[in-house]
Symmetry: C2
Amino acid sequence: MKERTLDSEEIFKGRLLHVKRDRVAMPDGSEGVREWIDHPGASAVVPVLPGGKVVMVRQFRYGPDRTFLEIPAGKFDGGEAPEAVALRELEEETGYRAGKLEVLGVLYNAVGYSNEAIHVFLGTELVKTEQALDEGEFLEVEIHDLRELIEKAGAGDLQDMKTAAGLLMAGSRMGRARG
Amino acid sequence: MKERTLDSEEIFKGRLLHVKRDRVAMPDGSEGVREWIDHPGASAVVPVLPGGKVVMVRQFRYGPDRTFLEIPAGKFDGGEAPEAVALRELEEETGYRAGKLEVLGVLYNAVGYSNEAIHVFLGTELVKTEQALDEGEFLEVEIHDLRELIEKAGAGDLQDMKTAAGLLMAGSRMGRARG
């Protein structure tokens, strides 16, 4: 089913978005065009405090034009390992350092037009440090109950997809751990 | 926390992608730049046959450069209702018509750079009709066990994010229905 690249054109290289348009050979030999975002990847963490509370962030998102309750996350920046990005973004956004990270999954969030993969971790053994937001980053830290969040995600009431998927994978892992 | 649009520039209007760059006023009064994809939205369906089997599609995705096992899905095209898009894409991609659709959730899959919202449905009362793929669309229909898929999604083994989230929301709904 593979599509073979015939040539690739750079459409836009902005501060954030890198847009490409490629001419491709389709599986049946015909020619097609693929417009896509070349993305460095990202990490996200479900950070769980002792007692089953989760450190979440509420953030305004310009494209959707609304706020979302989200798990902490951020983009790769250079050649960092996914774990390093997860730890850095968690600490910068919330002021918590995770002593332990476990992989929940690596999920592609926009397969039709982006190569972005989001590495989703479960973060535990949290220690309070200092929040250090980037310039132009505005968010509020909120502590929520893990069980309630998993229920909300299951009911479709958490509308950021990485957050819903991350919490439901965390819930599934805890269910498996309980046997 | 809202960011106010000062002006909006069209960077690229392709066949698929519509890229914009806006100048915005940040909550603290400073000025920022937001690059984003203006997306019409999409619908996806978890189509469940009697007996707990799911109609899935396997598809090569150019950006990630690999195939994914996915729930059927497609973009809005004009002023259609999300339900209509879900029914159309399910039938075109798999050759099954759903007699019943229930909303599982509306999830934003790339809040940092897109306004895309994916309306995720549970589709039941399926009737076999005819597959009718779009030109340039190549995919294989596969029938899988719902319970196994939900387990795989929970373990991070289904890497398309809408598919993982949709299956886990379906699992959560069935858990609630069982009481």
